[in-house]
């Protein structure tokens, strides 16, 4: 079976673009979560036409296709559950930068930072800034509607997508949107594909809106709070103020404890948490704006505030932020990073919930995230080899999502549902909403060939953590391993692994 498929794929793509060795299958079995599952074959299409060919083979043999960009996803979205891993990195050309219309047309496999740098060199600006920009692809960003710190001011990837070229499961090459920022000609199909996590079609080309560069002067506001209620109030007050910053990030006291060695003098010891904001403005306006924002923080009870325009002082703040990830990783090997997002007025209450969950389940829970968007990233630091701890972690995660939903929030702000969060979907969405989503999926992909097993809760296992295999609606033929293939044992490997 596999042999026939591999042969057909090689006939249409060429031998270099179809790989099925154990080493290739292992190295395309994961994303940035700890989930992994071997694909049967890995393909690297170089054109829209080749994507169509792959889908034709997939249809003929009813083999599932799992689109993948750079595999930096944090929800298991590109983890293949057998079948064909369709890797888009070879479609990495910037097709056009149209300065007059301020837009770029790119292939889906273009690396985000490559686009950012290329347009910057032409005096333009592509705002979405996921932390993974140097690695992630534009296609992956579109499929997850990726955000970043500056989304607070500039919005997420979707705001910049003007049009798409998408290959549907039946081979149709669909063009959505166009070249204009305003467009009400029929349904907004572009937005339907944004955040669709590779379940509705393969994005092959993206037309993106560009902006003029932000003003050149950079300032940093850092404000510390003695209690989380005050910190939560400050988030709301900063977001509502006319001088609102360009980004609005938070770190709680558990994070500050981890990077105590890097704590800048601007943050007094022992505070409950701090807000770190970037402010971009014109040089002559920066100082005034920083002062106004300092006032806002003081008004809601900050215990220390500094508006920094000095480059060295700012560097200390962001160096502390950068030191956080490695410092956290040193505590324990497993990091479970959630993406719960709540309306901003609910942040103080949600932070209180998180503190209670931390104590209830005795887990090492830290919060650092895009506070201005209500997009908190509760992170649990644990050790997957400790079964007792992991069962408490699982309980804590269940509680985090329950609390998040109870506060009017949502499962994911920017990482998507993928495999990790699908089992919470029925709790997050009314049955009618989920049903319409299913009908849309069936309309675009009646044979359930594209990224099956993702997003929808069908067949999701109860415990996605550590060591349990993922079973899902991949009711597709299990493609037999190649004769020489010993690597198949990897299929029994931790599917429901940890999340990164």
């Amino acid at each position: 079976m596999t042999d026939a498929i591999v042969r057909e794929l090689r006939a249409v793509l060429g031998p270099d673009q179809v790989l099925a060795s154990p080493a290739d299958r292992v190295t395309y079995s994961y994303d940035a979560t700890y989930l992994s599952h071997l694909p049967d074959v890995v393909v690297f299409p170089a054109s829209t036409e080749q994507v169509r060919h792959v889908l034709a083979v997939a249809r003929a043999h009813r083999v599932p296709v799992f689109p993948r960009g750079s595999g930096t996803g944090l929800s298991g979205g590109s983890v293949p559950l057998g079948g064909i891993a369709l890797v888009m990195t070879r479609m990495n050309r910037i097709l056009e930068i149209d300065r007059d219309n301020m837009l770029a047309r790119v292939q889906a496999g273009v690396i985000t930072a490559h686009l950012q740098e290329t347009v910057r060199a032409q005096g333009l600006f592509y705002p979405p800034d996921p932390g993974s920009a140097r690695i992630s692809t534009i296609g992956g960003n579109v499929a997850e509607n990726a955000g970043g710190p500056r989304s607070f001011h500039y919005g997420t990837t979707g705001r910049y997508v003007l049009g798409l070229e998408v290959v549907l499961a039946d081979g149709t090459v669909l063009k959505t949107g166009g070249m204009t920022t305003k467009n009400v000609t029929g349904y907004d199909l572009t937005s339907l594909f944004v955040g669709s996590e590779g379940t509705l079609g393969i994005v092959t080309e993206v037309t993106l809106r560009l902006l003029p560069p932000p003003p050149p002067a950079r300032g940093t506001l850092v404000a510390s709070f003695a209690d989380l209620t005050a910190l939560g109030r400050a988030i709301g007050a900063l977001a509502a103020h006319p001088a609102r910053p360009t980004s609005l990030e938070m770190v709680d006291r558990h994070c500050l404890a981890v990077v105590e060695a890097h704590r800048p003098p601007d943050i007094p010891p022992g505070v409950a948490g701090a807000l770190l904001c970037e402010v971009l403005d014109w040089p002559e306006a920066l100082a005034g704006r920083l002062r106004a924002l300092e006032e806002v923080c003081r008004g809601v009870g900050a215990v220390a505030v500094s508006g920094l325009a000095d480059a060295g002082a700012q560097r200390r703040i962001w160096a502390m932020r950068e030191a956080l990830s490695p410092a956290v990783a040193r505590i324990k090997p497993t990091k479970i990073s959630e993406d719960a997002t709540v309306p901003i007025a609910a942040i103080p209450a949600f932070l209180a919930d998180l503190e209670e969950i931390r104590q209830r389940w005795r887990v090492n829970l830290l919060v650092f995230g895009h506070a201005g968007d209500g997009n908190l990233h509760p992170n649990i630091i644990c050790d997957e080899r400790d079964a007792d701890e992991m069962s408490r972690v699982q309980a804590a995660i269940d509680d985090i999502f329950a609390a998040c939903l109870a506060r009017g929030g949502t499962l994911s702000g920017e990482h998507g549902i993928g495999l990790l969060k699908r089992r919470y979907m029925p709790k997050a969405l009314p049955p009618e909403t989920l049903d319409v989503m299913r009908r849309l999926k069936a309309l675009f992909d009646p044979d359930n060939l594209l990224n099956p097993g993702k997003v929808f809760p069908d067949g999701a296992v109860e415990e996605p953590l550590a060591g349990r295999p993922v079973t899902g609606p991949t009711a597709t033929p299990r493609v037999a391993a190649e004769p020489h293939d010993k690597g198949d044992s990897a299929n029994q490997q931790p599917l429901g692994g940890r999340t990164a």
Partner: protein, 479 residues
């Protein structure tokens, strides 16, 4: 995709592999710390050139982990992935959670080396490393023989064959062979004299003054490739150290550092060499110099990690650790001494020189020496210094990687030359490196990019000494 012929018939051993638990266990433990984030992907030259996850640090780590856990075998794909790693360690600097990739790679390569120990190619490599590479004189002789062969009738025929197949293994291999210098007659100058003492031609560089302070003892590590192929670099290093007021020694009895042996699965020989160096540099007697100066980033990096060859608690282990502490890069030593070559230059008009500094990967990623070389170069009046636009990633030399995998090495080098061209303003006057392997590679790169006769390639001490000797003179001789 750039097609790389996978090595054939290399899968060896029992397919149900009996993993030597101890070695791979270390790799497995470290690999478990990798969070799959992919931050190392853009830093990895082989991923950038080959575009496949198995040629990325994340991919290699996951492969080794799968191997250690018995999920894959050491088959062609895994072996190819590990063989094609440059070992440049750029991934370690890029990793946000400090995964020590070097530990993983070394353990996996040791395991592979054991399995491949009986294969003719590996026996040959081991012999070549033991009996040629470690000896400056034999290395120089081999380089001269290679040059003579290339000029012979047979050599010219090979060249013609290669010209018809651009991008082939042969064409790539010849690119590197042609770059080999043949330092006829200069060998004696470079070898540590049997009695120890000063290198000929190592008088203090003209126009410099030694600071009027105490004169600490500095022992020079002469190296094998450095001494055999680029003896002038050792002479220049000695002259700079003398100018900075050090009492220089070149201990007799010193030998190759053993890095190549260690990285190619011959730890026994590496251990024997290290023991001899511990002896030669007075570490076993407890009378080492105050600083042991290296001018090859690759050797220095290995020496800093080499104590692991001896069991903890042994005198050798303690001595090797002390060696690791005393061992320093020449630029670091000069900067710490407070000696700035620019200060030694008298005023007056100087011609402007555009220098590209291509650092040694191991100097950057293992030793963390990044500022000192730039500070020295930038102190020279009229000299503008830039890193290649890629920030100075691996040039593809990587020990003897260019000899073992010439095609991939040539592809990495091509990107490097493009990164230098991307700086704009035409080719630089000089490419300065900090390791003999990089020196060789950049010589090949200059030719490959069609810049022969336009760009000089020098190592850092060599360039500074040259500059101090003739600040107003002509450009250094181009490669």
């Amino acid at each position: 995709m750039r097609a790389v012929e996978p090595p054939r018939n290399v899968a060896v051993g029992d397919p149900h592999h009996t993993v030597t638990a101890i070695g791979l266990a270390a790799a497995q433990g470290e690999a478990a710390r990798c969070i799959h984030c992919g931050f190392c992907l853009p830093a990895c030259p082989t991923y950038q050139v080959l575009g496949l996850e198995k040629h990325s640090p994340r991919g290699r780590i996951q492969l080794v982990k799968a191997w250690a856990e018995g999920r894959v075998d050491a088959d062609e794909g895994l072996i190819e992935a590990l063989d094609l790693c440059l070992g440049c360690r750029a991934c370690e600097t890029a990793c946000p959670v400090d995964v020590r990739y070097g530990v993983i790679l070394e353990a996996a390569r040791d395991e592979l080396a054991q399995r491949r120990a009986g294969q003719p190619a590996n026996i040959l490599l081991k012999l070549a490393l033991r009996h040629v590479a470690a000896y400056p004189r034999r290395l120089g002789l081999a380089a001269r023989l290679a040059a003579r062969f290339l000029h012979s009738a047979a050599g010219r025929q090979l060249e013609m064959l290669a010209a018809r197949r651009p991008g082939s293994w042969l064409a790539a291999a010849l690119t590197f062979a042609r770059a080999l210098p043949s330092p006829r007659g200069r060998l004696e100058a470079a070898r540590p004299s049997s009695s120890g003492g000063r290198l000929p031609g190592s008088a203090a560089a003209p126009g410099t003054t030694a600071p009027g302070r105490s004169r600490p003892r500095a022992a020079l590590f002469a190296g094998c490739a450095q001494a055999g192929l680029f003896p002038q670099v050792n002479a220049a290093t000695a002259s700079l150290l003398a100018a900075a007021g050090f009492q220089l020694e070149v201990p007799a009895g010193q030998v190759c550092c053993g890095a190549l042996h260690r990285h190619h699965g011959d730890p026994e020989h590496a251990r024997a060499l290290l023991r001899r160096n511990l002896q030669a540099f007075g570490l076993l007697r407890g009378e080492p110099a105050e600083v042991i100066v290296f001018n090859a980033g690759g050797c220095l990096a290995w020496i800093k990690e080499a104590a692991s060859l001896f069991p903890a608690g042994t005198p050798e282990h303690a001595a090797a650790r002390q060696l690791g502490v005393l061992a320093k890069d020449v630029a670091e030593v000069l900067v710490e001494r407070g000696w700035t070559p620019g200060d030694a230059v008298q005023g007056g008009q100087r011609r402007s020189l555009r220098v590209v500094y291509q650092p040694s990967c191991h100097l950057t990623h293992v030793c963390g020496v990044t500022d000192a070389p730039l500070r020295l170069l930038r102190s020279l009046p009229g000299v503008t210094v830039a890193l290649p636009s890629d920030g100075g990633t691996c040039c593809g030399s990587a020990g003897i990687y260019n000899a073992l995998h010439p095609q991939v090495s040539a592809a990495v080098l091509e990107r490097k030359m493009a990164a230098i061209a991307a700086l704009g303003g035409g080719p630089p006057d000089v490419i300065v490196t900090s390791n003999p392997g990089c020196h060789l590679q950049m010589l090949a790169g200059v030719r490959q990019a069609g810049l022969a006769g336009q760009v000089a390639v020098m190592q850092l001490p060599e360039f500074i000494a040259w500059y101090l000797a003739r600040p107003r003179g002509p450009l250094p001789p181009a490669a």
